[in-house]
């Protein structure tokens, strides 16, 4: 099913009409985003269909800067009357904002851009049949349920295509299309008052990337289903993860979430400046720490990179939702903190001449916020097997099970689905209920080994929440397994 913005009036016409309703003598700046989305979601559970659904939507939002203050209004009623009303509403709201103004909002300049950008993919996921999609999931499901002790098997996939037209009063007109695919599976085992689970390739729905159906083939769900199901059952017999200060090695998907929570969020400049204080919180990365804080050890290099050259991640795009081109920004260089995620509104706080292009909104009905693009730990030099062989006494943890961090992003605790003890350079006994905790900068400064590019994966986090009203955004995080010394392990189960 196709939403048909172009069938009647084009997305450009809708945007132009809204901008035409604004009094340019009064409005300092405005932009309109018209967005058409299409989704397919399919899941299976214990050999049966869980749900099958499709969704389409079309709507627009207009953001107005007037008297130095913002107003935003959105609607899915694209009639002529409604387009006039939504423009008027945004202006009225901006005027109301001015009642509590302390200072004018200033936007750093940005070049006028007229462009079309389409994310590449090999196989249009919407060209595949639901029947074939279901068959793939049911095959994986059967593999999981073939393992005695599995009490619940689930598999799911998700396809999304977003077509967006951005137009601003500065003359920019940008059309972008992004196709995202995602899939994953999970096997549960309940035994003796204990629930264990294993997910593949990652928890929370699996792996998500800016790809077409080719991702399904790359993930090899069916080929890995039995292994992870066997691990879920085997966890019941495993020893409890010990408690104490230990050397740990994190698998790449867990490290991706560690990057997300303890680097990605604290570098959001809107958080630093207090704009998220009531809900998501603030950041320990106050402005004085820029180019002064030793965030991690000398081998820690982190970038924010939204360009295709970095990979096809959930944070990859051509232009952000302010019309700023995708960029690569150094965040941590040789362990030193050197960069924030910025917007046109926040960049002046750093005396920056330009936004580094991180503003994104969930859908037509929300304003753009600073969001992580692809926040990635650059690969190191080690082979994974060598890293294990080089570790006398440690714990290797894989696949996230729980995650929590304080509202300034200092103190975190993560739980993983599975772990193995490392003894004398070899992967030894399996451990259940592994967890670790720490303080962000102490943790990253304890990193003494990172695996090389052959082990590096650009993971997708599809469920990042931020903002009021709450918005969900997909972010990307490249990571290879890495080792950390002297980390607190097991305190989650200490009571």
């Amino acid at each position: 099913m196709h939403a048909v913005a172009t069938r009647n009036r084009s997305m450009r016409e809708y945007a132009e009409t809204v901008l035409d309703h604004l009094d340019r003598r009064e409005v300092q700046y405005a932009d309109v985003r018209v967005i058409e989305e299409r989704e397919r979601n399919i899941s299976t559970k214990n050999g049966k269909m869980g749900h099958t659904s499709s969704e389409e939507s079309l709507g627009l939002g207009v953001r107005v800067l007037l008297q130095g203050c913002w107003g935003f209004a959105a609607t899915d009623d694209l009639s002529a009357d409604s387009l006039a009303a939504v423009a008027k509403r945004a202006v009225e709201i901006a005027r109301a904002s001015a009642m509590a103004k302390k200072a004018d909002t200033i936007l750093v300049p940005e070049e006028k851009i007229v462009a079309v950008w389409n994310a590449p993919f090999q196989i249009d996921p919407f060209s595949t049949t639901v029947e074939d999609n279901l068959n793939l999931l049911l095959q994986a499901d059967a593999e999981m349920r073939a393992v005695p002790g599995v009490t619940l098997a689930e598999a799911s996939l998700h396809f999304q295509r977003t077509r967006q037209f951005f137009m601003s009063t500065e003359g920019s007109a940008i059309e972008q299309t992004r196709v995202v695919s995602g899939a994953g599976l999970v096997a549960y085992s309940f035994l003796n008052n204990e629930i264990q689970k294993r997910s593949y390739p990652n928890s929370f729905g699996g792996q998500y990337q800016l790809k077409g159906y080719e991702l399904m083939e790359e993930l090899k769900l069916v080929e890995n289903a039995r292994r992870v199901a066997e691990e879920a059952v085997a966890l019941h017999q495993a020893d409890q993860c010990p408690q104490g200060k230990r050397t740990i090695i994190l698998g790449s998907s867990q490290l991706a979430l560690q990057i997300h929570e303890s680097i990605g969020h604290p570098i959001e400049l809107d958080r630093v400046l207090g704009m998220e204080a009531n809900y998501a919180g603030m950041s320990f990365l106050t402005l004085d720490k820029l180019r002064n804080l030793k965030y991690g050890s000398a081998i820690v290099n982190v970038v924010a990179d939204a360009r295709l050259e970095h990979g096809r991640g959930l944070g990859t795009f051509g232009y952000d939702d302010e019309g700023v081109p995708a960029q690569r920004t150094d965040i941590i260089k040789d362990g030193l903190f050197v960069g924030y995620l910025t917007s046109r509104e926040t960049a002046p706080a750093l005396s920056a001449k330009r936004s580094n292009g991180t503003m994104r909104a969930e859908g037509w009905n929300h304003i753009p916020l600073i969001r992580m693009t692809n926040i990635s730990l650059l690969p190191g030099t080690r082979k994974f097997d060598e890293l294990i062989a080089d570790t006398d006494d440690g714990i290797y943890m894989e696949t996230n099970r729980s995650w929590s961090i304080d509202d300034r992003r200092y103190h975190f605790q993560f739980g993983c689905e599975i772990a193995w003890e490392i003894r004398n350079g070899k992967k030894a006994r399996m451990l259940k209920n592994p967890s670790y905790s720490g303080i962000t900068t102490e943790f990253w400064n304890s990193c003494d080994a990172i695996c090389d590019k052959n082990h590096w994966v650009l993971w997708g986090t599809p469920n990042c929440g931020k903002g009021q009203p709450s918005q969900t955004m997909g972010t990307g995080h490249g990571a290879a397994p890495a080792r950390f010394r002297n980390v607190t392990v097991g305190i989650a189960y200490a009571s």
Binding site: M1, A3, K48, Y188, G274, E276, R408, H411, P469, A494
Partner: protein, 444 residues
């Protein structure tokens, strides 16, 4: 806003395009306005309006759903065709039940004209008053003030017509001093119950009282939990009060139904008709919601059951099902925890040594069967000694089992409509518990 008559017109048109055995239409949406402030100024200010319609068709035990926000005839025809196409590609589901027929719904009144009439100027004026309080006390204010109108409707080809409208209003405020913060929040369908100024004063007082926080060693403490802290914690267990969750052995109540797993002073019900509750009197299939006594005297008395789960488990449906098709079944969403007569002040006065918690943050489940949760304290954590608040303390991380928590409750406050950030609003009391596991401490 979508009136009932317009919903029925849309459904009539949907039926014209459908050749399914059964056809169902869900409509939802409304208006939502939110004024957001930080650094003592309004920095974001938004309004949105939108309505989605979602069609489920059934062909010989095969079903699927398709959703659109377009209401023109061509889009209605396409959403029906898409649902039919998806459904026809499914395997037949032997457990799929016929759609429910007409129901008699008990009326609930949660729509207030006064709420619909709130303007951006009125929201801005309330923000200005909150900012004045912050500035007077040398603090910085951040928060939101939102209002809106919602509509939900379910109609099906067996004659069911369920329609519900409500309003919502919410004010949330954080007050920050250089080394402390305080928070307060209120949610109601009726704007007249939202007193922004008093909430700002309360948040400001908490921030002032928690200045110069000291570090307390982690460990087990007596804890006094304000209602927002209680609801954000216990909200993590109610998806387990699901017949399907137990059937799938993913619920911590697997093998525990009928057992006494909480203290005798714990009584929890799900009751959409409670005067302080929210939401429609029907579930995702249009089934009448029942009031259910989930926990009585600490005993897990009942779960919730959708029509489908009830049939497979041989019990009566309770009207808590999610829209079909889904793999989750059902869950209670109108939680009422019975309280007692105690005030937070009485709890403090009765405490020799303990911790007072305003709210929690970033709570996540560590262990699904022991129901261990982790998270942080936030925006007002205090050390209590000899019956008095002594001083603010640096925020703790906790790892606590909900089963242990609800077995160690010594005092309960008066139940109130509370709202937090990690779970949906509930009717809950403040609690004093004899032991709470604070495992680590952060740097502020």
């Amino acid at each position: 806003m979508l009136p009932k008559e317009r919903c029925q017109e849309i459904f009539s048109e949907i039926l014209r395009y459908s050749d399914a055995d059964e056809t169902e239409l869900l409509l939802s949406g409304g208006t939502h306005q939110l004024t957001r402030f930080a650094n003592n100024t309004i920095h974001q200010n938004v309004a949105e309006e939108g309505y989605v319609l979602s069609v489920r068709t059934v062909y010989g035990g095969r079903t699927a759903r398709s959703t659109t926000n377009r209401h023109d005839p061509e889009s209605l025809r396409r959403v029906v065709a898409e649902s039919a196409s998806l459904a026809r590609q499914q395997p037949a589901d032997p457990e799929l039940l016929p759609m429910p027929g007409p129901q008699n719904f008990r009326a609930v009144e949660r729509h207030f004209e006064e709420t619909t009439a709130v303007t951006p100027q009125q929201r801005a004026e309330a923000v200005v008053r909150a900012v004045q309080i912050a500035e007077k006390n040398g603090q910085t204010a951040a928060g939101t003030f939102s209002t809106g109108v919602g509509v939900q409707a379910i109609l099906n080809s067996r004659g069911l017509v369920a329609y519900y409208q409500d309003t919502h209003a919410e004010f949330s405020v954080t007050m920050m001093s250089p080394d402390s913060s305080g928070w307060a929040k209120k949610t109601s369908p009726d704007i007249r119950e939202i007193h922004a100024e008093s909430l700002a004063l309360r948040a400001s007082e908490i921030a002032s009282r928690s200045r110069n926080p000291r570090e307390l060693p982690p460990g087990d403490y007596v804890a006094i939990l304000e209602p927002a802290a209680v609801l954000d914690l216990i909200g993590f267990m109610f998806f387990d009060f699901s017949g399907q969750g137990v059937r799938d052995k993913r619920s911590f109540l697997t093998d525990r139904l009928g057992q006494k797993i909480f203290g005798s002073n714990i009584h929890i019900s799900d009751d959409v008709y409670h005067p302080l509750q929210f939401g429609p009197p029907f579930d995702g299939e249009g089934q009448n919601r029942q009031a259910v006594a989930l926990v009585e005297k600490g005993v897990v008395n009942s779960l919730t059951y959708s029509r489908r789960t009830a049939k497979t488990m041989g019990v009566e449906p309770t009207g808590h099902g999610f829209p079909l098709p889904n793999e989750w079944g059902e869950a209670p969403t109108n939680i009422v925890v019975a309280g007692d007569r105690h005030t937070v002040e009485e709890m403090i006065a009765s405490t020799e040594r303990g911790v007072l918690v305003t709210r929690f943050w970033y709570i996540r489940e560590v262990d699904p069967y022991r129901k261990i949760l982790t998270g942080m304290t936030r925006d007002g954590t205090f050390y209590v000694e000899d019956g008095k608040i002594q001083h603010g303390i640096r925020n703790f991380r906790f790892n606590e089992s909900l089963i242990d928590l609800l077995n160690s409750t010594e005092m309960l406050g008066v139940s109130e409509r509370a709202s937090g950030e990690e779970s949906f609003p509930m009717v809950v009391p403040a609690l004093k518990v004899s032991s709470f596991h604070f495992t680590e401490v952060t740097k502020f």
